[in-house]
Protein backbone atom coordinates (compact mmCIF):
# COMPACT_ATOMS: atom_id res chain seq x y z
CA UNK A 1 0.00 0.00 0.00
CA UNK A 2 2.83 2.39 0.88
CA UNK A 3 4.24 1.75 -2.61
CA UNK A 4 1.01 2.90 -4.23
CA UNK A 5 0.78 6.02 -2.06
CA UNK A 6 4.42 6.92 -2.72
CA UNK A 7 4.05 6.39 -6.45
CA UNK A 8 0.90 8.53 -6.60
CA UNK A 9 2.44 11.33 -4.52
CA UNK A 10 5.68 11.58 -6.55
CA UNK A 11 3.82 11.10 -9.81
CA UNK A 12 1.32 13.87 -9.15
CA UNK A 13 4.01 16.39 -8.16
CA UNK A 14 6.00 15.59 -11.32
CA UNK A 15 2.78 15.81 -13.36
CA UNK A 16 2.05 19.29 -11.94
CA UNK A 17 5.57 20.42 -12.80
CA UNK A 18 5.29 19.08 -16.33
CA UNK A 19 1.91 20.79 -16.85
CA UNK A 20 3.40 24.13 -15.74
CA UNK A 21 6.46 23.58 -17.96
CA UNK A 22 4.38 22.77 -21.03
CA UNK A 23 1.65 25.38 -20.71
CA UNK A 24 3.61 28.44 -19.57
CA UNK A 25 6.88 30.10 -20.52
CA UNK A 26 8.53 29.22 -17.20
CA UNK A 27 11.77 27.21 -17.38
CA UNK A 28 12.78 24.21 -15.27
CA UNK A 29 14.73 26.56 -12.96
CA UNK A 30 11.58 28.61 -12.29
CA UNK A 31 9.57 25.50 -11.53
CA UNK A 32 12.05 23.95 -9.09
CA UNK A 33 12.39 27.27 -7.22
CA UNK A 34 8.60 27.63 -7.18
CA UNK A 35 8.16 24.12 -5.81
CA UNK A 36 10.69 24.69 -3.03
CA UNK A 37 8.81 27.82 -1.93
CA UNK A 38 5.54 25.88 -2.22
CA UNK A 39 6.96 23.16 0.03
CA UNK A 40 7.91 25.76 2.66
CA UNK A 41 4.42 27.28 2.48
CA UNK A 42 2.73 23.86 2.81
CA UNK A 43 4.97 23.18 5.80
CA UNK A 44 4.02 26.56 7.30
CA UNK A 45 0.35 25.57 7.30
CA UNK A 46 1.18 22.10 8.61
CA UNK A 47 -0.08 20.34 5.46
CA UNK A 48 3.21 18.65 4.55
CA UNK A 49 3.05 16.45 7.67
CA UNK A 50 -0.04 14.75 6.25
CA UNK A 51 1.89 13.99 3.04
CA UNK A 52 4.77 12.53 5.08
CA UNK A 53 2.33 10.35 7.00
CA UNK A 54 0.53 9.27 3.84
CA UNK A 55 3.42 8.66 1.42
CA UNK A 56 6.26 7.81 3.80
CA UNK A 57 9.80 8.16 2.48
CA UNK A 58 8.52 9.03 -0.99
CA UNK A 59 7.34 12.41 0.34
CA UNK A 60 10.99 13.40 0.87
CA UNK A 61 11.97 12.69 -2.74
CA UNK A 62 10.37 15.63 -4.64
CA UNK A 63 12.11 19.01 -4.34
CA UNK A 64 9.13 20.35 -2.30
CA UNK A 65 10.48 18.41 0.69
CA UNK A 66 13.57 20.65 0.57
CA UNK A 67 11.42 23.68 1.46
CA UNK A 68 9.57 21.65 4.06
CA UNK A 69 12.79 20.58 5.81
CA UNK A 70 14.30 24.09 5.66
CA UNK A 71 11.23 25.65 7.28
CA UNK A 72 11.02 22.95 9.96
CA UNK A 73 14.71 23.23 10.84
CA UNK A 74 14.44 27.03 11.02
CA UNK A 75 11.44 27.05 13.37
CA UNK A 76 12.91 24.26 15.49
CA UNK A 77 16.12 26.30 15.82
CA UNK A 78 14.12 29.22 17.20
CA UNK A 79 12.46 27.04 19.83
CA UNK A 80 15.71 25.38 20.96
CA UNK A 81 18.29 28.19 20.65
CA UNK A 82 16.32 31.42 20.37
CA UNK A 83 16.80 34.01 17.63
CA UNK A 84 20.29 32.69 16.83
CA UNK A 85 18.74 29.32 15.99
CA UNK A 86 16.90 30.88 13.04
CA UNK A 87 20.29 31.26 11.35
CA UNK A 88 22.41 28.48 12.83
CA UNK A 89 19.84 25.67 12.48
CA UNK A 90 18.44 26.55 9.06
CA UNK A 91 20.53 24.11 7.04
CA UNK A 92 20.85 21.37 9.66
CA UNK A 93 18.54 18.76 8.11
CA UNK A 94 19.14 19.57 4.43
CA UNK A 95 22.91 19.61 4.87
CA UNK A 96 23.12 15.91 3.91
CA UNK A 97 21.49 16.54 0.53
CA UNK A 98 23.44 19.68 -0.37
CA UNK A 99 26.82 18.37 0.79
CA UNK A 100 26.43 14.97 -0.85
CA UNK A 101 25.43 16.66 -4.12
CA UNK A 102 28.55 18.87 -3.98
CA UNK A 103 30.92 16.06 -2.98
CA UNK A 104 29.68 13.55 -5.56
CA UNK A 105 29.60 16.25 -8.26
CA UNK A 106 33.22 17.22 -7.51
CA UNK A 107 34.68 13.72 -7.58
CA UNK A 108 32.62 12.59 -10.56
CA UNK A 109 33.66 15.73 -12.44
CA UNK A 110 37.32 14.92 -11.80
CA UNK A 111 36.93 11.45 -13.33
CA UNK A 112 34.43 12.08 -16.13
CA UNK A 113 34.48 14.18 -19.28
CA UNK A 114 31.76 16.56 -20.47
CA UNK A 115 29.76 15.33 -23.43
CA UNK A 116 30.44 17.15 -26.71
Amino acid sequence: MIYLNGAIFCGIICLLGELILDNTKLTAGHITSLFVVLGAILSFFGIYDYFTEWAGVASSVPITSFGNLLYKACIEGYYTKGALGLFSNLLSTTSAGICSAIIFAFFITLFCKAKD
Binding site: I2, Y3, G6, A7, I8, F9, C10, G11, I12, I13, C14, L15, G17, E18, L19, L21, D22, N23, A28, G29, I31, T32, S33, F35, V36, V37, A40, I41, S43, F44, A55, G56, V57, A58, S60, V61, P62, I63, S65, F66, G67, L70, Y71, A73, C74, I75, L86, L90, A96, G97, S100, A101, I102, F104, A105, F106, I108, T109, C112, A114
Partner: protein, 144 residues
Protein backbone atom coordinates in the same frame (compact mmCIF):
# COMPACT_ATOMS: atom_id res chain seq x y z
CA UNK B 1 -6.01 26.54 -47.51
CA UNK B 2 -3.68 29.51 -46.87
CA UNK B 3 -0.65 29.58 -44.63
CA UNK B 4 -2.31 31.05 -41.55
CA UNK B 5 -5.13 28.54 -41.57
CA UNK B 6 -2.62 25.75 -41.84
CA UNK B 7 -0.59 27.11 -38.93
CA UNK B 8 -3.72 27.34 -36.80
CA UNK B 9 -4.61 23.79 -37.68
CA UNK B 10 -1.13 22.55 -36.76
CA UNK B 11 -1.26 24.47 -33.49
CA UNK B 12 -4.66 23.01 -32.70
CA UNK B 13 -3.67 19.40 -33.10
CA UNK B 14 0.00 18.76 -32.37
CA UNK B 15 0.78 20.34 -28.98
CA UNK B 16 -2.09 18.88 -26.97
CA UNK B 17 -1.12 15.37 -27.97
CA UNK B 18 2.52 16.07 -27.12
CA UNK B 19 1.48 17.63 -23.82
CA UNK B 20 -0.59 14.60 -22.89
CA UNK B 21 2.33 12.31 -23.69
CA UNK B 22 4.78 14.52 -21.74
CA UNK B 23 2.48 14.67 -18.74
CA UNK B 24 2.00 10.90 -18.76
CA UNK B 25 5.75 10.30 -19.04
CA UNK B 26 6.42 12.70 -16.15
CA UNK B 27 3.81 10.97 -14.00
CA UNK B 28 5.16 7.49 -14.71
CA UNK B 29 8.81 8.46 -14.10
CA UNK B 30 7.93 10.32 -10.91
CA UNK B 31 5.95 7.32 -9.67
CA UNK B 32 8.86 4.99 -10.50
CA UNK B 33 11.30 7.16 -8.54
CA UNK B 34 8.89 7.15 -5.61
CA UNK B 35 8.75 3.34 -5.72
CA UNK B 36 12.55 3.05 -6.04
CA UNK B 37 13.00 5.32 -3.01
CA UNK B 38 10.66 3.13 -0.94
CA UNK B 39 12.49 -0.05 -2.05
CA UNK B 40 15.86 1.47 -1.02
CA UNK B 41 14.30 2.56 2.29
CA UNK B 42 12.92 -0.93 2.97
CA UNK B 43 16.29 -2.54 2.23
CA UNK B 44 18.09 -0.10 4.56
CA UNK B 45 15.62 -0.56 7.43
CA UNK B 46 15.98 -4.34 7.12
CA UNK B 47 19.66 -3.84 8.09
CA UNK B 48 18.63 -2.30 11.45
CA UNK B 49 19.08 1.34 10.41
CA UNK B 50 16.65 3.71 12.12
CA UNK B 51 13.82 5.29 10.13
CA UNK B 52 15.23 8.84 10.14
CA UNK B 53 18.76 7.75 9.17
CA UNK B 54 17.43 5.41 6.49
CA UNK B 55 15.40 8.31 5.04
CA UNK B 56 18.51 10.49 4.74
CA UNK B 57 20.56 7.60 3.30
CA UNK B 58 17.86 7.01 0.68
CA UNK B 59 18.14 10.64 -0.47
CA UNK B 60 21.96 10.41 -0.53
CA UNK B 61 21.83 7.20 -2.62
CA UNK B 62 19.43 8.81 -5.12
CA UNK B 63 21.73 11.85 -5.37
CA UNK B 64 24.75 9.59 -5.89
CA UNK B 65 23.02 7.61 -8.65
CA UNK B 66 21.86 10.77 -10.44
CA UNK B 67 25.37 12.31 -10.25
CA UNK B 68 27.00 9.09 -11.44
CA UNK B 69 24.63 8.68 -14.39
CA UNK B 70 25.17 12.35 -15.31
CA UNK B 71 28.93 11.81 -15.23
CA UNK B 72 28.64 8.68 -17.38
CA UNK B 73 26.69 10.74 -19.91
CA UNK B 74 23.32 9.09 -20.37
CA UNK B 75 21.30 10.98 -17.75
CA UNK B 76 21.10 14.08 -19.98
CA UNK B 77 19.16 12.10 -22.58
CA UNK B 78 16.77 10.79 -19.95
CA UNK B 79 16.15 14.31 -18.58
CA UNK B 80 15.58 15.65 -22.10
CA UNK B 81 13.00 12.92 -22.69
CA UNK B 82 10.95 12.87 -19.50
CA UNK B 83 11.81 16.38 -18.23
CA UNK B 84 9.86 17.10 -15.03
CA UNK B 85 9.71 13.40 -14.13
CA UNK B 86 13.42 13.63 -13.32
CA UNK B 87 13.81 17.38 -12.66
CA UNK B 88 11.28 17.68 -9.81
CA UNK B 89 12.63 14.79 -7.68
CA UNK B 90 15.95 15.29 -5.86
CA UNK B 91 17.67 13.67 -8.88
CA UNK B 92 17.12 16.95 -10.78
CA UNK B 93 19.04 18.87 -8.11
CA UNK B 94 21.97 16.45 -8.30
CA UNK B 95 21.84 16.48 -12.09
CA UNK B 96 21.97 20.28 -12.28
CA UNK B 97 24.95 20.46 -9.89
CA UNK B 98 26.94 17.74 -11.66
CA UNK B 99 26.14 18.85 -15.20
CA UNK B 100 27.14 22.48 -14.56
CA UNK B 101 30.33 21.24 -12.87
CA UNK B 102 31.11 19.08 -15.92
CA UNK B 103 30.28 21.83 -18.42
CA UNK B 104 32.55 24.44 -16.83
CA UNK B 105 35.40 22.12 -15.90
CA UNK B 106 37.30 23.23 -19.02
CA UNK B 107 37.58 26.80 -17.61
CA UNK B 108 39.73 25.58 -14.71
CA UNK B 109 39.09 24.36 -11.19
CA UNK B 110 38.51 27.78 -9.57
CA UNK B 111 36.99 30.09 -12.17
CA UNK B 112 35.27 27.25 -13.99
CA UNK B 113 34.16 24.45 -11.71
CA UNK B 114 34.20 26.36 -8.43
CA UNK B 115 32.42 29.46 -9.64
CA UNK B 116 29.75 27.73 -11.70
CA UNK B 117 28.85 24.63 -9.70
CA UNK B 118 25.65 26.26 -8.39
CA UNK B 119 24.76 28.02 -11.62
CA UNK B 120 21.45 26.14 -11.93
CA UNK B 121 20.89 24.75 -8.42
CA UNK B 122 21.70 28.05 -6.68
CA UNK B 123 18.21 29.46 -7.15
CA UNK B 124 16.69 26.44 -5.40
CA UNK B 125 18.93 26.96 -2.36
CA UNK B 126 18.53 30.76 -2.33
CA UNK B 127 14.73 30.84 -2.58
CA UNK B 128 14.39 27.86 -0.26
CA UNK B 129 16.41 29.54 2.48
CA UNK B 130 14.85 32.97 2.02
CA UNK B 131 11.27 31.69 1.98
CA UNK B 132 11.85 29.33 4.93
CA UNK B 133 13.40 32.17 6.94
CA UNK B 134 10.60 34.64 6.16
CA UNK B 135 7.90 32.07 6.99
CA UNK B 136 9.64 31.13 10.24
CA UNK B 137 9.84 34.81 11.24
CA UNK B 138 6.13 35.25 10.41
CA UNK B 139 5.30 32.19 12.53
CA UNK B 140 7.40 33.47 15.44
CA UNK B 141 5.89 36.97 15.28
CA UNK B 142 2.28 35.76 14.97
CA UNK B 143 2.24 32.71 17.23
CA UNK B 144 5.28 33.22 19.48
Amino acid sequence: MNKDDYKLLVKKYTPSEERLKNALMAFITGALIGIISIIIFQILTSYNIGDKEANVWTIIILIFLASLFTGLGFFDNWVAKVRCGLIIPITGFAHSVTSSALDYKKDGLITGLGANVFKLAGSVILYGIVSAFILAVIKVVLYG
